[in-house]
Symmetry: C2
Subunit: 350 residues, 2 copies
DNA sequence: GGGACCGGGTTATACGAATTACCAGCCCGG
DNA sequence: CCGGGCTGGTAATTCGTATAACCCGGTCCC
């Protein structure tokens, strides 16, 4: 069964010996080096021998000589294991592969020691660059050691401003969501946020700012009681939606700052015997593929363009050069489904 | 800002020059090679110089000399991007890191050409082994090239029997699920499967077999009408649950062969105005973390032990040696939540 | 006082591929 | 008959590390 030479370790010297030529000839022929001339017969023999022996180039020897490896480091906090962020890796990997590069992946789980150690290891492997990715959009500290290679911060922003960053355009997303509901005719539009708007959660801050802007632009005075702080999970949506819908003046529409929150809202609405979108319209955020399309009715939401963001991160790495610490923002497109309708006439307090 | 020597490329020779010793001395001191003796003063100078210059070993040079790299290849079809299988990578990576190894990850998205090419690249990097992972449990063809290194099939089984495989114990899982419902007092127990039981879907086949075994053991004659073939998605659960619950003799309990199917069932049950677990009890499968705990009521389900399976795969690789093509099965523990209760007295046809 | 031994290092080589410089033979022109 | 150019290659060097082999000066012991 074992093909001849399939045991690890066939080198160019072996091929050279089998073909009756020198190692240099093998190298030149196999790499089709420019400006060299070998007879057809020699090329044939070299290729035949290489094939016969199952020759495979030793990447380490090559890197040692050439200086840079065909690998890109990808370190994330939870990206690899997060249920929805897989696309971010998929995009990065796809772009890397187009350039013939492989991804050396580590997800640290937030462990700083592991992070430091794996970065060291990556650098010792002479990676062509490092993508430093975060599961959710925030402002973070980038390890100093990344200054030694091309590095890009993905789905977050570098506090120090040393590295280029890639992040979703939260404010525009929030604006688009609210505008969609306004355009449908709603005026009492609640927002269940995924965290406080004071701090370092650009998603919460930005989406809220966009929501406010859309309201103001439409001449709607925002009711502070309609903005609620959830926790980003299903339960945050459930509890807040329950409170909103059983309050004195329930909203006719709710913008949930992420899809999980929207899901909780679905469950609360169902529990109250109300229906979506008849009694209340909903817009989510994230377009989480395991959730948004499968809710009944399907959830209208904004898509986080993770695939493109991942691609772009690697693209920036490959481009090299610039290295300014500016942030590139990605627009989140609206994905229409069936959770938005015009408000019903009766402004019932159920 | 740039620390001295932080420019890539400090070698042992630089350190040696700075410390006034030979390159060999640097190597021996830094690696604390056994059986060598250097004065405290020399060691100090070497360490100081290495630190000062920001020396970092060149992994490629080391691998070239030593023959084997500190990397493990991980190739999966969709594992990296699947919403629930992240744990499988997390486990593999954790175990690898304990051995000081990094994961070289590729998810092929089912593209055989990409798969072949990335395996070639991985082998050229002299990976210590390869984990060949699948998103869902099936019997698959393993590329021949993997015979050249230690390799393990993860979350699937190798058809050829050449490689050790790791898979969940489906039959026992199905048995446990059904038994949980039987123990609660149910007799009319439906199963919504995730695919046909004729073919190459061990999850569908095994879980069904376990379900049948539990029924028979309890003296319950299985009603063929209660076994329905879904598609593994939410809609498969929804449609089939609707059909079951509106049929002439609805079941008092349903075993859904995965959590997404269970979710669809939740939505169907809600639509019918029924409640879980009062009108019908449910057991799922997968313990999908974004789903099962957040349903209302929480879903009782079986957990796929992906973390342990991932760990074990790397463990087998590191162990080396054996290399028989046997399959190691992992038990799926029951996770109790609140979707199971005793059947209500009234055998209402709703 | 001469060999054995030990502390404290150094020299040289190998790993596998890429690349530069060179070389041998042949043909051709003048 | 000598030099130049072309064809078809080869020899030697480089990358950075690990390690086996060796070396030198001083002690100790008989």
């Amino acid at each position: 069964m074992t093909r001849p030479g399939s045991r690890s370790g066939t080198t160019m010297n072996d091929v050279a010996a089998a073909a009756g030529v020198s190692q240099a000839t093998v190298s030149l022929v196999l790499n089709e080096a420019a400006g060299t001339r070998f007879s057809e017969e020699t090329r044939r023999r070299v290729h035949a021998a290489a094939h016969e022996l199952g020759y495979r180039t030793n990447a380490h020897a090559k890197v040692l000589r050439d200086g840079v490896a065909g690998m890109i480091g990808f370190v994330g906090d939870f990206v690899a294991t997060a249920p929805f962020a897989g696309k971010i890796i998929e995009g990065a990997q796809a772009r890397a592969w187009e350039a013939g590069l492989l991804l050396l992946t580590v997800n640290t789980g937030g462990d700083k020691a592991l992070e430091a150690a794996s970065l060291e290891t990556m650098l010792s492997y002479k990676v062509a660059g490092v993508v430093y990715a975060a599961m959710y959009h925030r402002v973070l500290e980038v390890p100093d050691v990344l200054a030694e290679v091309p590095a890009v911060v993905l789905n977050s922003r570098d506090r120090s401003g040393r590295f280029p960053s890639i992040a979703p355009e939260e404010e525009l997303g929030g604006y688009t969501a609210a505008k969609r509901l306004l355009d449908a005719g709603h005026r009492r539009i609640a927002m269940i946020n995924i965290g406080a708007v004071d701090g370092e959660l650009p998603a919460a801050v930005g989406r809220y700012a966009g929501y406010l802007r859309a309201l103001k632009e439409a001449g709607v005075h925002p009711d502070p009681g309609l903005h609620r702080i959830g926790d980003g999970h299903e339960s945050g949506g459930f509890d807040n939606a329950l409170a909103l819908m059983t309050g004195p003046q329930p909203p006719t529409a709710i913008f949930c700052a992420n899809d999980r929150t929207a899901w909780g809202t679905f469950q609360a609405v169902a529990q109250l015997g109300l229906s979506i979108p008849h009694d209340v319209s909903l817009v989510g955020f994230d377009n989480q593929e395991t959730l948004a399309p499968h809710l009944r009715p399907g959830l209208t939401t904004l898509e986080l363009p993770f695939l493109e963001m991942g691609r772009r991160a690697v693209e920036l790495l490959l481009g090299g050069a610039e290295r300014d610490g500016s942030t590139e923002y990605f627009e989140c497109p609206l994905v229409e489904r069936d959770s938005v309708a015009a408000p019903s006439k009766a402004t019932s307090s159920h």
